[in-house]
């Protein structure tokens, strides 16, 4: 029977199917970080059980780490305590740990692929909803809760009902200044934040085929923002070239065996999906959000919709615009910006900093803008320096910080102050997400750069 890519990977990981219940689902790779793992380890201790396959779990500190002066002790005692717990738990159970200051340290969804932990056909989970990022490699990857972290630690399995299948086809040629982030924000705006709930998505079509691995990661990363558990893209030569030779990638004969399998990882002709979307690349322009969920996005040249034009309740919509300090039918272009954040597991990779540099090169940061440039990992940080991007940033008045999740969720000190507007390359514009009272406009690195040099929401195509 014709199978989808998702079917092939899912079905090969089912240990047992429970009647009128979930599948017992085997997990190849498990990432942990300091925020969602401590209670899981506590659970193991309470039950008196061990970690079954410590070599399949990888720890990195990212959510709650400072992005300046990482060589100094962490000031906040609660954050320091979480980092210490991750280090001690990893040590006690024999789990690889890339703590603060380690050369491999960085955001979990950036360092996994960088080190070949993320592989096609693998199942990957982490106590973080943006684990969907790893689907870019043809893996089934999704976020889990802490109870499930404990399940994976103790049995390498979780209990999951198999989601329904959706394919999102985007074909055609993307226009000038339209990045993978814009493609994702466009899809989310079309589907809403709950449009893919209960589904696992496959992204198909020439737009994704032509995308770099970094771009595919950005798209898959945002799958959760339309409610999908995850999203994936069939592996191709680009995928294999990216992973070859990395730290944990199979080597020698193992590579050849793996390649034989990986080449079978595509949706068969005639395989059926429960839902199909088709979009035209030509309809997508650089996107920006105006509200308090990632589905509230529009083309940057457009005006904020009126309440009658959007799905859902008017009260919720007006509450959202009220929080943002915006009105129906306002133009987005020209809105004043106070902060710019480039980074996160969505847009914290080298390609994102290249895009940012392409706009700020030869220009100056607007005087009133506070900009936080936060690389996704030390590897990204090193590349920024090697490629000369840092010189461009410095000349334009920007400072590069150290890796971490930073202002994406503002657990550390990188908080946008109440009432201020931030153009952010991260993934969520929820109320207070980037700091209590902070107002977030989600956008691509190009749109972020355009705002950083002009001080207002600006169409990046005018600066290209």
């Amino acid at each position: 029977m014709a199978k989808t890519l998702f079917d092939k990977v899912w079905d090969s990981h089912v240990v047992r199917n429970i009647k009128d219940g979930p599948d017992v689902f085997f997990i190849d790779r498990h990432f942990i970080h300091e925020v969602t793992s401590p209670v899981a380890f506590l659970g193991l201790k309470t039950r008196g059980i061990d970690v079954i396959y410590p070599e399949r779990t990888f720890a990195t500190a990212d959510h709650n780490t400072p992005t300046i002066n990482q060589h100094l002790p962490v000031k906040d005692p609660l954050s320091a305590n979480q980092l210490k717990a991750l280090e001690e738990n990893s040590k006690e159970y024999g789990i690889s740990h890339w703590g603060l200051g380690h050369e491999k340290n960085g955001i979990v969804h950036v360092v996994g692929p960088e080190n070949g932990i993320t592989l096609p056909g693998a199942t990957i989970v982490c106590g973080d909803s943006h684990t969907s990022t790893h689907g870019a490699f043809g893996a089934i990857a999704f976020g889990i809760g802490t109870s499930e972290v404990e399940m994976v630690l103790s049995t390498q399995c979780i209990m999951q009902p198999k989601p329904k299948k959706m394919v999102i086809n985007v074909n055609g040629q993307l226009g000038l200044g339209v990045t993978p982030k814009d493609v994702a924000l466009y899809i989310i705006a079309k589907l809403t934040t709950s449009g893919a709930t209960g589904y696992f998505v496959e992204y198909a079509g020439d737009v994704f085929e032509n995308m770099t691995m970094e771009g595919r990661m950005t798209v898959c990363n945002l799958s959760i923002e339309m409610g999908a558990r995850g999203g994936m893209i069939a592996p191709d030569q680009k995928t294999f070239d990216y992973i070859k030779g990395r730290l944990h990638t199979p080597k020698g004969a193992d590579w050849d065996t793996a390649m034989e399998y990986w080449k079978t990882l595509k949706t068969d002709e005639g395989a059926e999906f429960d839902f199909v979307y088709d979009f035209d690349a030509a309809d997508i322009e650089p996107m920006i959000t105006y509200g308090t969920n990632p589905g509230m996005g529009i083309g940057i040249s457009k005006d904020i919709p009126s309440a009658e034009e959007v799905e859902g309740g008017i009260a919720t919509y007006q509450k959202s615009l009220g929080y943002m300090g915006f009105s129906e039918n306002d133009a987005m272009i020209g809105k004043k910006v106070d902060y710019v954040f480039i980074g996160s597991c969505t847009n914290g990779r080298i390609e994102d900093f290249r895009a940012f540099a392409s706009i700020v090169k030869g220009r100056k940061k607007a005087a009133h803008i506070t900009a936080w440039l936060v690389p996704g990992s030390h590897v990204v940080e090193a590349a920024i320096k090697e490629e000369g991007l840092l010189d461009i940033f410095t000349a334009a008045g920007f400072v590069l910080r150290e890796p971490g999740c930073s202002a994406c969720l503002a657990m550390n000190d990188d908080k946008i102050p109440a009432g201020k507007y931030a153009v952010s390359t991260s993934n969520r514009n929820f109320e207070g997400r980037q700091g209590p009272g902070a107002r977030t406009l989600l956008a691509s690195p190009l749109v972020a750069a355009a705002a950083a040099v002009t001080g207002v929401v600006t169409d990046p195509r005018e600066l290209m």
């Binding site: 009647k19 401590p38 209670v39 506590l42 976020g143 109870s147 309740g313």
Partner: protein, 198 residues
């Protein structure tokens, strides 16, 4: 972690008729710094419930003494966003045992089921009726019957059934969790792992 068994819950409810309530609202990230599962209920809906200086916002439903109960009724697409189980813990720790909504985000729903909070998904029409019943009488009781898989507005007798897998239902009725189950099939998992190439 052990939780209270769930059977039949008869309770008044708190109404929160807002759509797309995300887990950053249920518990903001800055309150995720604990390494134990304690005290999350204090920060449930922190920024909707308290002013920046820590004083309660009188108009928020959890601060309104008219309302009480172990049931939270939320708007459509409840629990979207982050996978933080802390959101479900905060709901449980505050004293809720059931959340009713016309639509739940996936991970939040799963997290609730894993810790003993029953997510009851009802039709949009029935959700409207529940909100209306609470608006008419803030002490209006709702009965959530897990064995029968029904939810009833006691004042009017209006009733709807809800879905839950047989497996999860047994777990909630008995206070079992998935780890107990998985521990018992460990040898099967150890056989399975031999089939994995990497």
């Amino acid at each position: 972690m052990a939780y209270d068994k769930f059977n039949i819950l008869k309770s008044s409810a708190y109404p929160l008729p807002i759509e797309n309530v995300d887990t950053d609202q249920i518990i903001p990230a800055r309150f995720l710094k604990a390494i134990e599962r304690k005290g999350f209920g204090d920060n449930l809906f922190r920024d909707w419930r308290y002013n920046a200086d820590g004083t309660p916002k009188a108009d928020f439903v959890l601060n309104n003494p008219k309302y009480s109960g172990k049931i939270l009724v939320g708007g459509r697409n409840f629990g979207s966003g982050s996978s933080r189980e802390h959101a479900a813990w905060a709901v449980y720790d505050f004293g809720f045992r059931c959340v009713i909504s016309s639509f739940f985000a996936d991970i939040f729903k799963n997290n609730c089921l894993n810790i003993g909070v029953l997510p009851v998904q009802v039709s949009a029409e029935f959700s409207d009726k529940v909100f209306a019943a609470i608006q008419a009488d803030e002490n209006a009781e709702i009965e959530v019957n897990l064995p029968e898989q029904t939810v009833t507005i006691l004042a009017t007798g209006e009733q709807e059934s809800f879905q839950i897998s047989g497996y999860k239902k047994e777990n909630l009725l008995n206070g079992f969790d998935d780890i107990d189950y998985l521990q018992n099939i460990k040898s099967e998992i150890q056989e399975f792992v031999k089939t994995r190439p990497f």
